[in-house]
């Protein structure tokens, strides 16, 4: 039953190939794949195709016992092919089976043609086998060339050695056919080989381009969105009732642009944003875009979670720490104070989706985005300014200072807080989140809501079972 299933699979494989198979890295492996598809057919042909010729040979040439033996030899090879097909002893077992079988077929038919005294119908059979070898089977070109050369040279040398004279018209006609086939099969065989190879190279190039475009798509879009776009061709805008948005902006960047060389400025900005990207990745928040010297990211999308206000605050603290280090360095090197950062955070509902037809961008929209931007613009240099909504979500975990109710353009007065650091009870001796914090974080990830009973000391068993990045969160 197993063998029957294997045979059915093989026939399906030979006829239909392997769906969505990646092209192999080398042309030789591609030929191997094509040969493997042909092996079931060749095994059946090898086993049976020459058997009906044996009685004909015996009747026509009863004094040539080598002829039926040569015919039977192909069936013996067929048996070996089946064994090889089952145990697959070589890496290129498909090429091996096809090349050995086909070489035998060609050389054997040539040998039989010689034994028949260059009978025109046997020469016809020989030419037919040569045509199969030259035009049909996907073997390496050097192998085709070698076998054809051996077959032609062998036949003509043999004919000469055996003193065969091409006396009859039909023999001469067949001889002409054979001579023509040398040119035809070599040229067409070569062209066939080039076509096969160029098809492989083009398909491989397309595959590489596709992989590259997928990689670029993943750079531009979140993985989940990119996948949806690829599989469904469109992405439905989604409503997120809770997300946390972060904006950063460099204070005095415009002044910096006046005194720094543009390429130097862009290089520094690129370097900083690269590190922001790494921080975003670390805290599983989504970088949305950069606008000039502003950086925008959001937590809680495209995959919803309960921890996004905390994730974004932790990321903001690390961004702040990083820019303080950069500021120290640039101040030391050039006395410039350009890399002072304002960070604003707000939590609220947003719509998220893809915008653009030719240039895709995953973007978020809604009043919460505007408020987050206002939190940044009304913030202070080297400080993280958070809204009351974000504060309510993180107040149990972070030290914050109430700034007061400040006027926000288009919104009127809004309560704002400065985010300083993770509370000391959630820090270990290395200033990293401790087991107690990780335990609460794990519960939040599991769906718990932020409320006093969750963060009460009794709820902590001291065992952190989460994968929160072990950020070093330091106070300012």
């Amino acid at each position: 039953m197993k063998i029957l299933n294997q045979l059915t699979d093989s026939i399906r494989y030979a006829l239909l190939g392997s769906k969505d198979r990646p092209y192999p890295d080398t042309y030789r492996e591609e030929l191997e794949y094509q040969n493997r598809r042909l092996t079931p057919v060749f095994m059946i042909l090898g086993l049976f195709i020459w058997l009906p010729y044996i009685p004909v040979d015996m009747k026509n040439f009863p004094h040539q016992p080598l002829m039926p033996l040569t015919r039977a030899g192909l069936s013996v090879l067929g048996v070996f092919a089946v064994i090889n097909y089952i145990i697959k002893p070589w890496r290129y077992w498909g090429t091996m089976i096809v090349s050995v079988g086909m070489s035998y077929l060609v050389l054997g038919s040539g040998f039989c043609a010689l034994l028949s005294g260059a009978d025109s119908s046997y020469i016809g059979g020989f030419i037919f086998c040569l045509s199969l070898f030259a035009l049909v089977v996907p073997l390496p070109y050097w192998l085709m060339l070698t076998t054809l050369t051996i077959a032609y040279v062998g036949f003509f040398s043999g004919a000469y050695a055996l003193g065969i004279e091409f006396k009859t018209n039909s023999q001469r006609y067949s001889l002409n056919d054979l001579a023509s086939s040398i040119i035809v099969f070599n040229i067409i065989g070569y062209v066939q080989h080039r076509i096969r190879r160029s098809h492989y190279l083009r398909a491989k190039a397309v595959e590489r381009e596709k992989a590259e475009s997928n990689r670029l798509l993943l750079n531009i879009l979140p993985a989940k969105i990119a996948e949806e776009l690829k599989t469904q061709g469109a992405v439905e805008p989604l409503f997120y009732d809770s997300a946390t948005i972060l904006f950063t902006d460099f204070v005095g960047f415009t002044e910096a642009a006046k005194v720094m060389l543009p390429d130097e400025l862009i290089a520094q900005l690129n370097n900083i944003f690269f590190q922001f990207d790494e921080i975003s990745r670390k805290y599983r928040i989504e970088k949305i875009k950069t606008i000039g010297d502003a950086y925008m990211a959001a937590g809680g999308l495209p995959e919803m979670n309960n921890t996004h206000p905390i994730d974004v605050c932790l990321a903001a603290l690390e961004i702040k720490r990083l820019t303080n280090q950069i500021l120290d360095l640039t101040e030391h090197d050039s006395g410039s104070k350009f890399w002072r950062l304002r960070i604003g955070i707000h939590s609220g509902s947003v719509m998220a989706g893809i915008v653009g037809q030719l240039k895709f961008a995953y973007d978020i929209f809604g009043d919460a985005v505007n408020v987050a931007s206002r939190m940044e613009s009304t913030g202070l240099p080297n400080q993280i300014n958070i809204s009351a909504d974000t504060y309510e979500a993180v107040k149990y975990f972070f030290n914050c200072t109430f700034r007061g109710s400040l006027e926000v353009k288009g919104r009127g007065p809004m309560d704002m807080y400065l985010l300083h650091n993770l509370k000391s009870k959630y820090l270990n001796e290395h200033d990293a989140p401790n087991a107690r914090f990780l335990d609460i974080y794990a519960k939040l990830k599991g769906g718990a809501r932020i409320e006093p009973k969750l963060i009460a000391p009794s709820t902590s068993n001291g065992v952190g079972s989460t994968t929160l990045p072990t950020a070093s969160v330091r106070g300012s």
Binding site: L238, A352, G366
Partner: protein, 120 residues
């Protein structure tokens, strides 16, 4: 005019949906928690209720369970809307004869289409 009750503690959601649904000639009522939603439902007897599950004061399941006890609202159409997509919640929604259970984040357009098909 068909009546729709939106119950969610996120005012942005109820505002956004009510603007759209009103433009489609529905009469829309909004509430920000289960208790408020329950009171409004008993008063207005809506044709459809879009109910969030996790809300302050009273959650969506409790509110709908109360509605089912009242003959006036026992058969009102309910769609639950929640970030909680676990099978237990789905089972509970089925027990309460909810017509649908939509997991957040969701597509507002799809929700509007669904409403249109149900009572439009």
């Amino acid at each position: 005019m068909k009546k729709i009750l939106l119950v969610d503690d996120q005012p942005n959601f109820t505002t956004m949906m009510s603007i759209k649904l009103k433009s489609m000639q529905f009469e829309v009522f909004t509430a920000t928690n289960g208790q408020e939603g329950l009171d409004l439902a008993l008063k207005e007897i809506p044709d459809l209720i879009i109910m969030d599950i996790m809300m302050p004061v009273m959650d969506g399941f409790t509110a709908v369970a109360e509605l089912r006890k009242n003959p006036k609202t026992a058969n009102v159409l309910v769609i639950f809307l929640s970030a909680k997509g676990n099978p237990k919640d789905r089972d509970r929604a089925q027990e309460l004869k909810a017509i649908d259970f939509i997991a957040k984040p969701f597509s507002p357009r799809e929700l509007v289409d669904k409403i249109q098909k149900l009572i439009g």
